[in-house]
Amino acid sequence: MSWPWRERGYELVVGLEVHAELRTRTKLFCGCANAFGAAPNTNVCPVCLGLPGSLPVLNARAVEIAIDVGAALGARVQSSQFHRKNYFYPDVPKNYQISQYDVPICAGGAVVLESGRTIRIERAHLEEDTGKLVHVGGGGRIDSAASTFIDYNRAGVPLLEIVSAPDLRDPDEVRAYVSELRAVLVAVGATDGRMEEGSLRVDANVSVRPYGSSELRTRVELKNLNSLRSLHRAIVAEAMRHVALYEAGEAPVQQTRHWDEERGSTAALRDKEEAEDYRYFPEPDLAPLAIDPAALEAARARVQPLLPSTRRARLGDAAVSTDVRDTAISDVLWPYTRAALDAGLPPTLIARRVANEVAQLVGTVGSCEPERVVAVLRLEAEGALVPQQVRELLREVWLRPAPVESLIAAVGGDRSAAQETAAAIAERLVEEYPTEWQRFVDGDTKVAGFLVGQLVRRAAGSVPGQLARATLDALRASELSSREDGPPRGGDG
């Protein structure tokens, strides 16, 4: 792929800060519900409102999740410390955010893209989310709005901020990285990963440099990237802004810029650039956080089978597209895929059926025991059902609680009925095509296809190909044995 900066001799350098809202029952430092969509300021208490006298108490589940993510990313999970990040803003109830600074819970690690490229992770740290400002009237910004409402429901929701190294080199790679990281986070149960609800938020640090150079030039942090599409567009726009500046003999300023989706461009957040001094210091209300080595080992063992890379590997050399494969290993479908793999069924068949039929059923009508799906797929693998019957039977086992065997008849997949039909048709074929039949009996395999095709077509979908072939083979075997039982043809006496 050729990118416009590349044509002008530049290379793109991107690092991402991904904020994942952790899927805990309660907030990071209090017992309020961690839930999206409640009426404003209903999931609040003295602690998450930062009322005078209140104190934070760390949510143990959030720590477990951070450890799981660290294990999944191959990070060094270490004893860490919370710090206060001091800055005044009305969505920050205490006017400081409890975050982690020089000793994050996870250091290092990597995400390996399907392309094989390794994107290094610098760190992942726990912090509390801020409240949400809703600007009404005026310019939609805090100092131009007619009024601003503050909803503190989100204040104190646990976030894991995952910071990548500046290893990403083009916008497609950025997208691949976010998708893969998201898949990892969802797979280990860390987050629901919904960008549109803000449970996964991405800030991008963007710079460009002369192609072939290894320097890191002034970077700009892009915010308000609410979808993968915004992320992609914003990076392209910002990269070209840098190229234009360098070509004009100027240079970008290190700053934070806001992506404007409608105008398709970025704008500086403040007119005047001030260097923020967050005056970090260790949070005296929380003890340093120790990591139990045994818990870390357990986490490693627990997350390994959940990882997208592990699941992909289990599908082995299934002959399906990347899309089909990724669908089949997605969280909701993985139980079906895994059960079928455990049953030893062929990966290609599993991936296709799960990514198509099962995916459709999961999306519309609840769930079904994976064992029932496996039973259907086994029938298909054994050749007992034609594809149309498989599709119908999957729907039947999904909608009706009856045992799978009792549902087979409903799709015309009753094995004895099909066998009878096949046998009857085979008898007729022997009469109608005596020459072809004789050649088949004499071992001419080329004619077998013709006879199987005739049988399947005449059965109008009620006899699968494998059964047709089996029926013809059986008939041939009985004819051969009856010949042997007859008068000797001499030659061996």
């Binding site: 003295p46 409102l49 930062g50 009322l51 005078p52 006298g53 209140s54 104190l55 934070p56 108490v57 760390l58 206060r84 001091n86 005044f88 009305p90 109830p93 205490k94 006017n95 400081y96 805090i142 100092d143 601003t148 503050i150 001094d277 005056r279 970090y280 210091f281 005296p284 209300d285 929380l286 003890a287």
Partner: protein
């Protein structure tokens, strides 16, 4: 029993009397209220009083007792709480304009525990704004005066609590101690004040000044009264992550154990900082312990000389962050302005007093890029070094003896325009906060002007029982 006799009763005697129905909670309360109504206008120890609420509460306790219930070890004991400790639905200001009118929606853990033990809350006591000061003159609502001499300060920042106990407005009170704010006013008002081990009493509901130093503790007329309160309010609280996972302190049973065989170290480096009268009081107290069988010797802890400087970096640094939330956006004072930033600036400019602003600026500076390592980080190193100094002292001594305040009560206005002179009032008390260890101030007679003097007993972490047994011995031997 006469009102005068009721005011002489200890906390345990009041509670036992009410629980056994030989006393009524209401009658005890009225004795204190009578005293309060006469002298409080001069002393001004309270920022908010709820005498009607206290009467209703006392009546309810009497009814519960008559129904056969046992409200607990503080049954019917009139108490006051420093106004930086939140009380549900009861105005809490921390002595600041910026919180005027705020009614907390919750009770501090210590308040829950006091009420759960049957105490009668009479009111909220005055303090230096956000507990920053050593005279209670920095209260936004006017100073408290020392009951022993109304021209003198009661000390601070828990000056309201100390004065209220000294004047017998209440039987006992809670204060908070960040650098001496319980012990120094206790010394200046002639009462007992305990700063317990960091983590022994929950800070949940204490409006934070310096979180790593703040600790709530009792002020009371006697060591035993203080001990009873300490047992009630201490013990693990899951809402405070710095609260130790230990049961409540057990200190009452061993108060009479005496000091025989104990090794008592006199901290010469702190005695040297006191006036001659205070220094000789410490020496007399040491001789009294020796007379009672303790082994007294001098102990060198030269590190304490750096404690005040470290304290005045660390405490303002934490305060600058803790006080950031007072911005006019959510509660308390709001001074309107065209932009959010201007609103915050105007609210904070008008809402905070001079001393609070001074400390916010000191602390902001100490944490700023470029100064952080020379100031904040260096002060933390001093803190660690001080801890090693005390560890060395504990190898030689079971308790340490020192002055509480370098001088007796000073006059109102005497130090209020010299911040550094005011900060020096804390020189003998800040070391215990920096190392998180307990200390108690116990009255030891009076100076020539009949002003109380306090001596301080320091102990290793979690040795409150030993510390208070020594304090009880001093109390028995103290000159009257």
């Amino acid at each position: 029993m006469t009102p005068e006799a009721l005011l002489e009763l200890g906390v345990r005697e009041v509670a036992e009397g009410v629980r056994s129905r030989t006393l009524r909670a209401r009658e005890v309360l009225e004795a204190y209220v009578a005293q309060l109504e006469i002298e409080e206008p001069d002393v001004h120890s309270f920022l908010a009083l709820d005498v009607d609420g206290a009467r209703a509460r006392a009546d309810e306790l009497d009814r519960r007792v008559s129904r056969g219930e046992d409200p607990g070890p503080l049954c019917g004991v009139p108490v006051a709480v420093k106004d930086n400790i939140v009380t549900r639905g009861f105005a809490t200001t921390a002595g600041s304009r910026i919180l005027e009118g705020w009614r907390p929606p919750y009770d501090a853990t210590v308040v829950e525990r006091l009420l759960g033990a049957g105490a009668v809350l009479v009111g909220k006591t005055n303090l230096d704004e956000f507990a920053m000061g050593s005279s209670t003159e920095h209260s936004a609502f006017g100073p408290t005066r020392n009951p022993h001499d109304l021209d003198r300060v009661p000390g601070g920042s828990s000056g309201g609590s100390a004065a209220a106990v000294a004047a017998r407005f209440v039987a006992a009170a809670l204060g908070s101690d960040t650098g001496g704010s319980i012990r120094q006013p206790a010394a200046l008002c002639g009462v007992v004040g305990v700063k317990p081990t960091y983590g022994s009493v929950s800070r949940y509901g204490l409006i934070a000044f310096a979180s790593s130093l703040d600790q709530i503790g009792p002020l009371a007329a006697t060591v035993e009264d203080a001990a009873v309160l300490l047992e009630v309010v201490s013990g693990h609280d899951p809402r405070d992550a710095t609260s130790a996972t230990r049961p409540a302190l057990a200190v009452c049973a061993t108060l009479d154990d005496g000091v025989r065989g104990l090794r008592v170290g006199v901290v010469r480096d702190l005695v040297a900082m006191a006036t001659p009268e205070v220094a000789s009081a410490v020496d007399e107290a040491a001789r009294e312990l020796e007379r009672r069988g303790a082994h007294v010797r001098e102990v060198a802890v030269p590190e304490v000389r750096a404690a005040l400087a470290a304290y005045y970096v660390i405490a303002p640094a934490e305060a600058s962050s803790n006080l950031a939330r007072f911005d006019g956006v959510r509660y308390g004072l709001r001074v309107g302005a065209p932009t959010t930033e201007a609103l915050m600036v105007a609210t904070r400019s008008q809402g905070f007093g001079e001393e609070v602003k001074r400390r916010i600026m000191l602390g902001t500076y100490a944490l700023s890029a470029g100064y952080r390592s020379a100031l904040y980080v260096q002060a933390q190193r001093v803190r660690t070094w001080l801890g090693r100094g005390f560890a060395r002292a504990w190898a030689e001594a079971d308790v340490l003896l020192a002055p509480t305040s370098p001088s007796s009560a000073f006059r109102l206005g005497e130090r209020s325009h010299d911040p550094v002179a005011m900060y020096r009032s804390d020189v003998c008390t800040v070391p215990s906060n920096l190392v998180g260890e307990p200390a108690v101030s116990v009255p030891w007679g009076f100076d020539r002007e009949r002003l109380p003097i306090g001596v301080q007993v320091l102990a290793p972490a979690w040795q409150e029982a030993r510390m208070l047994a020594v304090a009880a011995a001093l109390e028995q031997g103290a000159p009257r």
